[in-house]
Structure formats: C-alpha cells, structure tokens
C-alpha cells in the first residue's frame, strides 16, 4: 500500500512566535519541529503499512529548514520524504499550499493520504479538504479511529454529539485528531536509519507549477495588540477561598 503523510514544519509550539516586518511568521533561524498534530498522522500511516505492507512517503511544503520535520518523521519509521521549497512560496496561503501539496502528491500513485486536522501555527484547518478536492478524492476528516481495509477506509469521526462512522473507497484522504493512535517515539536506531533514507527537494518548476497559481490571495493590512483583560483577585486556599467562590456564584445569580 502506498501511503502519503502531509507533514508541516512549525515554529516550536512552546516558544513565542515572531512576526517579521512583512507580517509573516519568522520560520528561519528559529527553533522548529514537526507539527505535533502531524505526528498522529505519521503514526496512522506507519500502522497502515505495518498491517498491509508498502511504504510511507512524507510530503511537506516549507523553507529548507522544514527538512528537519521530514527527518523526524523518517526517524519514526517513514520511508522517504519530499520537500517542496521555493522562494515564490514565502507567505503561501491555504489555496497555494493545497495546490502545491496536491501537485507533489499526484506525481506518484497513492492509496491513502494522512494529514493532521489543523496545523499548530496556522490552524487554517481546511488544507486537507482542499487537497482532497483538487485530487478528486473523498476525505474522511476528524478521525479518532482509522481502519484501512481492502479497497476502502472506515473511520470514526468525532462529533459534537459522539461519533459518526464514515466510509469511502480508496484512494482517499484521512485527517486524524490527537485522539487517534498515540505516536511512537523515534528510537536511536530510527534516527540513525533516517540519515540514509531518500529525500527529494523540489521547486515549483519541478512540479510544473506556474508561480502565478500560488500568488497570495490575502494581504495583511495591519496588526495591533489585543487589549488584555486585567487580572482579578488572587487568594490562597485557606483564606476563605471557598466562601469567596460561593459569594461570586451568588453575585452572578447562578445559585
């Protein structure tokens, strides 16, 4: 089975992200990582080939440093990587991202594409659906459980009320949530093996994409700090804290 996982390189989620003069997130020279949400997608991909045979290809669009996100996925056990990087992609929006990823994926036959549900830095949350739309394949989104069978995929989709069961024929795209299978850690052996796995770096020209098709369709007009709400009263447990909470409930007329 040919499995593709879309992985994004994001600035370290525990750090404070910075914006450059051009209003774009600074991605170079800051610590970055494989998006933690995409680790669930990598895990789902690895389990699929463990059950059915085949290989996992990681596909990412980002600056050259994004190679480190691909390396991380390879050290978890993925087999190969493809990074699309091009100066024309700086500031790429959701549409451009989906067009590039769809073009990169469609260079080879595939059975299932796994993605995260939303990226940690951008959280557009629509790139997977747009990629599926461009490829003309069904998308099984927000999966908390994935079963890949012969010629079909079945997922449990988490919902506001509980869950739905969704089915689709292969090839299909599946976006997973953080309730799906817990990602494995990279072992030392995996990290060593990753160094010799094949990774391709492609430009827009390699994909046959005209830079006009990835021109941004959004422009930041201005950024202002949000007014912050002043902190209220802080008390230690014991200083009548319980009574204070109940007083507040009474003031709010909820009891």
């Amino acid at each position: 089975m040919d499995v593709v996982v879309l992985v994004k390189y994001v600035p370290d989620p525990t750090g404070t992200p910075k914006l450059g003069e051009d209003f774009l997130v600074v991605r170079e020279g800051t610590d970055g990582t494989l998006d933690p949400g995409d680790e669930y997608a990598v895990e789902a991909g690895l389990r699929t080939v463990e059950a059915h045979g085949g290989e996992v290809t990681l596909v990412s669009m980002g600056p050259e440093v994004a190679m480190s996100a691909i390396r991380k996925g390879l050290s978890m056990g993925a087999h190969r990587g493809v990074l699309v990087t091009d100066p024309a992609l700086r500031g790429a929006d959701a549409l451009a991202t989906a067009r590039v990823l769809a073009a990169a994926v469609s260079r080879r036959p595939f059975d299932v594409i796994f993605t995260g549900s939303e990226s940690t830095d951008g959280y557009t949350g629509t790139v997977p659906m747009a990629v599926a739309g461009l490829l003309g394949i069904p998308a099984l989104t927000f999966a908390r459980k994935v079963e890949v069978g012969e010629g079909a995929v079945r997922i449990e989709r988490q919902t506001d009320l509980g869950y739905d069961v969704i089915e689709a024929p292969i090839p299909a795209l599946v976006s997973v949530t953080a309730s799906a299978a817990e990602p494995r850690y990279a072992t030392l052996k995996g990290i060593m093996a990753a160094k010799s796995k094949p990774v391709e770096q492609l430009s827009l020209a390699d994909l046959g994409l005209d830079p006009a098709t990835v021109a941004p369709t959004q422009r930041v007009l201005g950024i202002t700090p949000a007014p912050s709400k002043g902190a209220g009263e802080i008390v230690q447990d014991g200083d009548g804290a319980v009574a204070r909470i109940v007083d507040l409930l009474v003031e709010a007329k909820v009891i």
Partner: protein, 321 residues
C-alpha cells in the same frame, strides 16, 4: 453591492446558532443576503433563516447532503455560485464548515480565511493570532466569492423580522465521483444542560490527576444546577472524557455567566474557547499558571482538596436559601 451568503448548518432541531450569528453579520455587510441550507429540514429552516435576515434561502432537501461528507454540499454550492455570483460566503468554523469550505475553495480557486473574529467589508476580515494577543486585519483578494470561516459566538444573533423567498436546490452529483459517506451516527448523550447553553461551566484539566476525580466536577455541577462539565484537550486526548466535553480552539466556545477552571493551566488554545465568559474562577496549584491572568477570582491551591469543601458550601448556602 455584492451579495453575502451564509452557509447555514442544520442540526436536528433546525438551523444551528452559528447560522443566525452569521446572518446577523451578513446584514451589516450587504442588502443582499442569502442563506444556503442543505440537508433534510432545509425548507423548514427557511422561516427562521428569514427572520434573521436571509432574503433568499437556497434549500436542498436531498438526504445525500447529510450523508455525503463535504462533497455534496460543496458541489451544490459551486453550482449556485456560478449561477448567482455572490461576493462573500460566510461559514461557521465547525467541522462541517471546514469540510465544505475547503472543498469549495479547491473548486473555485477562491481565497479562504479561517478563524475570523470579524468581517468589516466584503473584502476585509479580522482574525486574532498568537493566542489572541494580536489582532490582524486582512485584505481578501483574488476571484469572488471570498470565503470566510467565522469563530462561534463572535457576533450576537439578532432577528431582523424578515421573510425569505425559498429557492429549491437539486443535487446532481457526477455518478462516477468517489464519495465519503456517513454510515452510522452515535450519540454519547450527556445528561444535564448543553455545554454551550449552561449558565455555569465547571471544567477540569490535567491537574485533576486521575479520571476518577472527575466525579467531583459532576457533583459540583449538580450542586450548582444548570451547570455543565467541560474539559481541556489534554484530558480528552488522554481518554478521560469524550471529545464533546472539549472547550477551546478545536472544541466548543462557551460564554457562561461563570466559568470554573480546576487544574487547567490556561494554554492559549483553551482560553480562546472560554475567555468570553462573564466571570472566570480558576483553581490551580501553580501561582504562575497563565489562567490566573484572566481569572476574576484565582485560588492558589489543590483542586482535589478544594472541590469537596466547595460542593459542601454550595449545598449549605442553597439550603439556607
């Protein structure tokens, strides 16, 4: 002036609150407002949608709209767009909103902005980034319609008292299109008021230590009355409670009269879903926990020790009347 459309998501009891919020926003942007309602019950929803400002409701009753994930609605919408040329379409930031808008974007090549907190013109929207510390105004360019997904509860729904003309929408999906179909629905029903509607939300995070301690939150909610229990994603992912408890960026947005947070650090993705609460109470062991920066009342202490005392005190005051 261009038309503004609203993708009106339908629930078992008619249009979801998001549809009425988005229609209220649409009216402020254009005199030409339409709602697109797709799925069984669409026709019946038209009356309410009209009352909140839709001049026209494009209503599709085909059961396939509810059964096929994203593809059916996006296909029908793309057809309507080609026929009527709206300038802007507003979607809710829900799972369905994202399924439909993402696919529609692929079909139309339109720009798409997620997580909008406001729309100020047909080609201008506002969003907030970095844990809502920065407000960003964005110009929407490229071919119309522009697609904007708005966060829940950023607009208060207000009726206009209007009436909608209903235009039926037929679904003709290409026969050879491979589809993702919903074959089962399961409700993991919670008792008590809904999280989004309760006057009080009692939420727990990883600081609750163990799933067995969550019974304390249920007991407090019951003692208060008209209260619902919520959770952080940390304990949803850990399997302590189902996803429908989750409050935050990728869960529910709540604005109760009082939000009580027990053992919750106050990560930005959680805060986004609850900072609109009228009053916020936080109990955390760590005096430096970020949740304290937005709490009206913060208690530094052990949630597991405070909860039993709090339940007792609420019961005592209630019976004292």
């Amino acid at each position: 002036m261009g038309a503004v459309w609203v993708y009106a998501e339908l629930g078992p009891d008619g249009p979801l609150p998001s549809a009425l919020e988005l229609l209220t926003k649409a009216r402020a942007l254009s005199d030409e407002v339409a709602a697109v309602a797709l799925g069984p019950g669409a026709g019946a929803a038209a009356e309410t949608l009209g009352e909140y400002g839709a001049g026209t409701v494009y209503a599709g009753e085909d059961p396939a709209f509810a059964e096929v994930v994203g593809q059916a609605a996006a296909h029908a919408l793309a057809g309507l767009v080609v026929e009527h040329h709206p300038s802007l379409i507003l979607f809710p930031s829900s799972q369905e909103g994202r399924d439909v808008a993402g696919r529609l974007q692929a079909a139309l090549g339109s720009t798409l902005l997620s997580n909008a907190t406001d729309v100020v013109a047909l080609d201008r929207a506002v969003t907030q980034i970095f844990g809502d510390t920065q407000i960003v105004e964005v110009a929407l360019e490229g071919p119309e319609p522009r697609l904007v997904l708005m966060r829940p509860k950023v607009v208060a729904a207000e009726p206009s008292g209007g009436r909608a003309a209903v235009r039926p929408v037929e679904l003709a999906l290409p026969a050879d299109l491979p589809l993702a179909r919903r074959v089962e629905r399961h409700a993991e029903a919670a008792s008590g008021p809904k999280l989004e509607e309760a006057r009080v939300v009692v939420s727990g995070g990883r600081g609750m230590q163990d799933p067995s301690n969550l019974a304390l939150l249920d007991r407090l909610a019951k003692a208060i009355g008209n209260a619902a229990v919520g959770a952080t994603r940390a304990i949803v992912d850990a399997g302590w409670v189902p996803y429908h408890y989750q409050v935050g960026q990728t869960g529910k947005t709540v604005k109760p009269d009082v939000y009580l947070a027990f053992g919750i650090s106050g990560a930005t993705q959680h805060v986004v879903g609850m900072k609109g609460s009228k009053r916020i109470v936080a109990v955390n062991k760590d005096p430096d926990a970020p949740i304290f920066s937005l709490a009206d009342l913060g208690v530094v202490g052990d949630a597991l020790a405070i909860l039993p005392k709090l339940i007792e005190e609420v019961e005592r005051r209630k019976s004292a009347g």
